[in-house]
């Protein structure tokens, strides 16, 4: 991400082309686990955590909340993916403008995607992603996780 600035109530983000390609590859990965969660995976348990330690309360909670949680996550995902389709092109850069509603989609999607990747790579330190050491990012998944952390932080700083 080269820049992020507020324009009125909207947010304009400038990317290089390769970043857009990386971002476009992500929603499919998340959709798979949201639509068919495999609860033997930490990532699925992290995306759909327990609402109560009491099994009876948990069951009742899931009856009223499960579909709403899944729907919200898919709305974020679809809203994020849609904004990537037609970026404004200028001198080799790609500009994406987010409305406040789309900004929410991005924050939610980036967080869920980080939960997925962070669970898969076993993020267990308590840095909360605020002290990323880019030199320590070794594999592709870890690099994408670090990049999404940076992007989400930039969005939060802009709002």
């Amino acid at each position: 991400m080269l820049s992020l600035r507020r324009k009125g109530g909207q947010f304009e983000i400038a990317f290089v082309k390769e970043e857009i390609e990386i971002l476009m590859d992500l929603p499919g990965q998340l959709r798979q686990i949201i639509e068919n969660p495999d609860f033997t995976r930490e990532a699925a348990r992290r995306l759909f955590p327990l609402g109560s330690e009491d099994p009876e309360i948990q069951l009742e909670y899931m009856e009223v909340s499960a579909e709403e949680i899944r729907t919200r996550k898919l709305e974020n995902l679809d809203g994020f993916a849609e904004t990537l389709l037609n970026p404004r092109k200028h001198f080799g850069l790609r500009f994406i403008t987010l409305t406040p509603e789309q900004f929410e989609y991005w924050l939610g999607f980036l967080n869920d995607m980080r939960l997925l990747l962070g669970s898969d790579i076993g993020v267990d330190s308590n840095s909360w992603g605020n002290d990323i050491d880019w030199d320590e990012l070794e594999d592709d998944t870890t690099r994408v996780y670090g990049y999404l952390s940076y992007l989400q932080q930039a969005l939060l700083d802009a709002c």
């Binding site: 992290r46 995306l47 759909f48 955590p49 327990l50 609402g51 109560s52 330690e53 009491d54 309360i57 909670y61 009223v64 909340s65 709403e68 949680i69 919200r72 996550k73 924050l107 939610g108 967080n111 869920d112 980080r114 939960l115 962070g118 669970s119 993020v123 267990d124 330190s125 308590n126 840095s127 909360w128 992603g129 605020n130 952390s149 989400q152 932080q153 939060l156 700083d157 709002c159």
Partner: protein, 95 residues
């Protein structure tokens, strides 16, 4: 069951029904601190100062009691916290 016993049962059920529920947010190694503050403000309408205080409590103590309310409202808030990707549970408030 005598009328007296019946009244006692109804009273006990009402007391149980009226008990408040705690909404607890748990520490998490993935969520950004600023994101947690953002979510607390969005869901509960807390000030930046209070939201930051609760976030720090989660971070330093492992969990924070972020609301105490009737069951239906607690369920709604836990669901919203889950929609945002935070780890949250609800439990009956102790007497």
């Amino acid at each position: 069951m005598t009328p007296h016993e019946s009244t006692q049962v109804e009273t006990a059920e009402k007391v149980e029904h009226d008990r408040l529920w705690n909404v607890i947010v748990w520490d998490d190694p993935i969520n950004l601190m600023t994101y947690v503050v953002y979510v607390f403000q969005k869901i509960f309408g807390y000030s930046t100062q209070l939201a930051t205080k609760l976030m720090k409590e989660v971070h330093e103590s492992g969990k924070s009691l972020v609301a105490t309310e009737e069951r239906e409202q607690a369920e709604l808030h836990v669901s919203q916290l889950h929609q945002y990707g935070l780890q949250a549970t609800m439990e009956r408030q102790e007497y």
